[in-house]
Amino acid sequence: MTTLSTTRVLKVLALFLFVVALALPLSMSSPTKSQSQTANQNRMPSEVPDGQNAVAAAVTEALTTDMDAKTDDLFNNFGARGTPIDECVADAVPPTARGNGRFEDNKFIFEEEETVADGLGPTYNDVGCVTCHQAVDTGAFGQQMEFRAGHLSGSTFIDNPGGQLIHARGTDSDVVEHITTGETVRSFRLVLSALGDGFVECIANQTLQDNVAAQPASIRGTLTAVPVVEANNTLRIGRFGWKGQHASLLSFSGDAYLNEMGITNKFDGFGGRSSSASDAGTHENPASTAEGVIDVTFPSPFDPVQDPEDDGGDVIAFTDFMAATRAPGRQNPIPASAVRGDPLFNQVGCSGCHTRNFTTAPAGTLINGGAFTVPAALGDKIIHPFSDFALHDVGTGDGIVQNAGQSTANQIKTAPLWGIRARNRFMHDGLTVNISEAIQRHAGQATAARNAFNALTASQRSDLLFFILSL
């Protein structure tokens, strides 16, 4: 009897020790480390089998633009080119499905400014795609900042009531958004370039996964798995946006049309809806006003346009314009100092995250959850984005959580450096105004690379900076 009782005690003790053994490691956070790659990999979707419909073709360099607005060299041969639109002669015609429109029509629609009659607002950030994506050429950079806010409940990020995106503008002073002092997590994010993003869209999931898997554990990035709105929210590896929050250009465009311009459309993904949801494209973002959160959706007094405000044509035009742009090309000619700095980029470890080369999936590959087939103009192309499209903790994290979980609050996507010579505000917050200082702001997973940069001679540091400014 005593033995039995003692055995029970031991069993209870064993159970207790087991629980303690499990709980202790979980309760200990390592504050400056990146997230567990294992957990991340487990939630990665398997893309529609690459290669199933693939067409064998030689791998070639992607076409590039010289990043000069005076040169007419944006089109990469995806779809038909068409002719520049003259409004006095004919209106631009939007596509009805991806790839069946004309580049010049899509570009014209990308450059249009929206009005209240088009559905602009009630809350919005700007009046057109090109107002943010314009420098040096249509589709490229802008100095605009997107404002996001929320607060912490314990260690959990909570969106600002009415949504974490705080719009800069409104069509009515009563709906201009304000945050309370309680929304203590605030972030400004700089506009990214969309040039060459069609190639980025055509990088297969596995290619991105293999690249991250090859990174040393100390700098390994976190890939996101995000819904493709046009594929019934099938998950795909994210690559667009500072949090890698979009995987397809159509999802990105639909989101931006609603969230940046206030124009509802079936691809806007509001509330996690896919484009096939019966009520897709029928909700405006609520306005977070000083008086509280206001529903501004039609037929509210703030929104005179019935939803969806776009039938999808504009969104597909934006998408295909971006998909048909060439990749940012290098400075030409490349200065001797930049040539000298080229190998230093790898030597100090920058290339560990700022991945130099990717090859897109073969033409014919089904991507985006089966919603898009890689066209010949974008397939089997070598690109040089200088990003791994993964999230990292480099000490500059903004604390904002989007659709990759709480663990990514202080992680930011590796900034693609292609075309960086065309801008003069750096890092995700645009608060650094020279490359040297941007490098010094790198900490966390980028600490070793920063220290290796600092260990270079002064002339080597200069050469490496010239190399970066030649991208």
Partner: protein
Amino acid sequence: MFDLSCLKAAKDLTNSSKALLIVLVTSTTLSCFGCASKPSELGSKSGQGPQVSHPGETSEASTLRVSEVEEAVRRVFKDNALIAQDYKPSFVVGDFNGDQSPDVAVVLKVAQGKTSQMNQQFPPWILKDPFVTAVPGMAPLRVSDDETLLAIIHGYGSEGWRDPQATQTYLLKNSTGAKIEARTKAEVIAANQGKKIPQLRGDLISEVLKGKTGYLYYAVSTYSWYDPSTFNGEPMVRPVHGVDVRN
């Protein structure tokens, strides 16, 4: 007695149960050791507050820390800057950038004849003036002869500013006042109830600067000055839609 009964009970266990018990005890022990090797929480997180050091003190621990700070300064500045020994204290420790790794803020003097090195084109530190907002095209800040500067060396990992990899440094002009102390975020908030407070990420550096008591705090890309008597919003430029907005 208890031990004996446990041993007796252990004898009665099956071999598999014994193996399970051994695994569990081992894993628990390892977890505890793992716990001990994790980064220790900073004083501010455990309620102890940031550490303040006085180089003038004669204790062995204090002397050791001075040498450690000197080593950290050499790591970043080589022989181009020295700890300003006339400042008491000349350094304070806290988690100023809020990454849970201890940082050190140290008052420096430019070393004799090293002004040009302190103004090198691509320095391994970030030179800032909390009272000047950087904008593209602005003439670069410069360090002058005999200038007193405040260097904040950010920590790396559990060893913080002592870690050989801890080199990220903000070098601040016009930021060395009197009565330099480290203060936790909670202390500053409590001391300034009813007043506007900037978005704080970590500990702050309290000091008397230009005759006013205020705080230096980490503002993501720089360190800013918080004067509770005059603060009316973040003193930073936020370029929104082409307009520099001061809020």
